[in-house]
Amino acid sequence: MTPTMLVAEDFTAPGPSIFDFPPLYEGAPYWLTKPVVMAVFGAIVVCALAWSAFANPKLVPRGMQNIGEMGYQFVRDQVARPFLGKDAERWMPLLLSLFFLILLWNLFGVIPLIQIPVASHIAFPAVFAALIYIIKIYLGVKHQGLVGYFKNMMFPPGLPKPIYVLLAPIEFLSNLIIAPFTHAVRLFANMFAGHLILAFFSAVGFWFLFEKLTPLGSGLGVLGVIMTIAMTGFEMFIQFLQAFLFTMLAAMYIGGSLHPDH
């Protein structure tokens, strides 16, 4: 950011305030903001796409069903089966809904005119993480018993006794307090930072090429545009990766509660 400051003193890099959205129009209720609308819109689009793919599935897939099956098989083979084994099919509805919705919400970050990754508002990842957290504890207590669940979590067998003094609190903390927090924040922070980076580079390009075009600054402006394009590609990868990771962690937590052995 130093060169920006040198060339034009009144260029200000976009900050966290770009995530603050006013109500859509004058006099609208305070909660009717762009992220809220996009969250609902995303849910509708996911339903519509999934409906067009899976509403009337054929033995020999055509068109949208091929794409939908690609997504389904990706979640099943890369997420559900490795962590849930024979329970994979039972948990596919939850995991598939999570993956599709998060993926589309993330991709909104690079879709022109929408350009807001819904998960960059922590409330949305927090809802998912909280849901998985509740399911995780419920399943853990149900399948291992209340005592067994905490015993398996905090006192894994086969360690020298003094270690447990250290291990038990760490495991308790990491499983019950840090895990859900990082689960939500990982997705949120990636989308937040990615959007900030895209906003920064596109602001550089716009500022130096359109608002304050100078011979010295134009090179910087071009660099900003190139970086915006490159980072958009990179963001799409991150958006996919984070959707995958969030779903994978969800499967891992559920699997861990169902089968404490591994």
Binding site: P16, S17, F19, D20, Y30, W31, P35, V36, A39, V40, G42, A43, I44, V46, C47, A50, W51, A53, F54, A55, N56, P57, K58, L59, G68, E69, Y72, E89, M92, P93, L94, L96, S97, L98, F100, L101, S120, H121, I122, A123, F124, A126, V127, F128, L131, F181, V185, F188, F192
Partner: protein, 182 residues
Amino acid sequence: MTLAATLLAAEEGNNPLLPHAYELVVGSFAFLVVFLVVGKILTPRIQKTLAERTEAIEGGIKKAEDAQAEAQRTLEQYRAQLAEARQEAARLREEAREQGAQIKAELREEAQAEARRIIEAAHAQIEADRQQAITQLRAEIGRLSTELASRIVGESLEDEVRQRRIVDRFLEELEGRPEAVR
């Protein structure tokens, strides 16, 4: 976290780590809708289809395997039949050869017997002819010798009576000769 959040909130007015309550509600609602439609309605459908497809493919593979096994069996059968036919043909050839050889041997034997018979018949014929010739020749020689002798002695010995007389005479002479000798 709460402390940090309060500090940040105090600084910026809007802390990105603090969720808006209304977004929590909207997020829950959005996920609920997606879960009901995608998870509860659509996922079972695609699961059912995928299971059916697996079954269909496995059925297809099974059918193909059956067909292949059937083809293999038929092929084995054909091969066995072919081998059998070849063996049969070889056997027939061998038999024919044997029969041919036998026939040849029989024919040869027959021919040899025939030849022997012909040769024997010829020999017999020749012997008979010879005997006949000898008999004839003897008579002829007798006649010719007599004729020749009569010519030589100048007296016809043709007359039977005379001949006999001569012979008798000769014989009488012979009879008388031993007494004289004695």
